[in-house]
Symmetry: C2
Subunit: 163 residues, 2 copies
């Protein structure tokens, strides 16, 4: 197995394709990690939820970390780590344009709405106002592991393309 760093372009394409990852928040230096769906667009992740611990923590401290991975097995995986800042997009005139952009990106993955609302059931939050938010991306790093044989053919293809 060989592990190599992914380029920023590879990271972005991967994050956009997968659209699912883990969102890390922190409060009083206690980290909190939850799975979440998102839509990637123009250097931002848009997502949707209802009021809960995740939102309360991010309102108190907007610093977040997002991890997106795809693990086939121990020897073949990709993992991208983003750091960024949480921003809520409330239903006000000030945020109207950005909220519209977020909703359009989110509508492409319409199942989310159903999932996020259903998750309100468990804590009796049926009537909770939907909360739209985005993560402004500050840094991106990614690593990819491939079995030796695959790595050789990628290297061969890259050398062929370069020559």
């Amino acid at each position: 197995m060989l592990i190599r760093e992914m380029t920023p372009q590879e990271c972005r394409a991967f994050v956009e394709r997968v659209g699912f990852g883990r969102l890390g928040a922190a409060r009083d230096n206690q980290p909190y990690v939850v799975p979440f769906y998102f839509a990637y667009e123009s250097g931002r992740l848009y997502s949707f939820t209802t009021l809960g611990k995740k939102i309360r923590w991010m309102r108190a401290n907007p610093k977040v970390c997002v991890e997106v991975d795809e693990v086939k097995n121990h020897f073949e995986w990709m993992s991208v780590i983003l750091t960024g800042r949480f921003q809520e997009l409330p239903n006000t005139l000030e945020y109207a344009l950005e909220r519209q952009q977020a909703l359009e990106a989110l509508e492409k993955r319409s199942l989310w709405w159903q999932t996020a609302f259903a998750s309100g059931q468990v804590s009796g939050r049926h009537t909770a106002e939907p909360i739209i938010y985005c993560v402004h991306i500050d840094t991106v790093t990614g690593h990819r592991a491939v079995p030796d044989a695959v790595e050789s053919s990628i290297a061969l293809a890259e050398r062929a393309k370069a020559s």
Copy 2:
């Protein structure tokens, strides 16, 4: 889809079976999330790595969060969130017993060693000392989503068992 809370027993069985999740650390209230393999045993997660950002951050602040999930689709998934405290198990007399216990648990998943060492390749850490550590679990919560039809049969089976 119906979402329900998992019992502590269900959470433990799930975490033990999966043995893979995301580890969240925090420094100066900046969260950091990475994928990691672990062995669950007696209320602890044991894992193995080489020196890097993750270990430096957890040495500075031992508060961690671990998220373990299995997502079949939007309507069928399990997610368990643990909070706990990082503890390094150095190769000294004081930690000999606990380190032995950790190594035995880790040996059952021997591929880890190869993976963790290989990851040293990318940053030129070939000769780094292996670091064994554990996470003492403080709190565990879990949620499970099942499609309506499946939920009905689970409820039926539970009622049958209870009667």
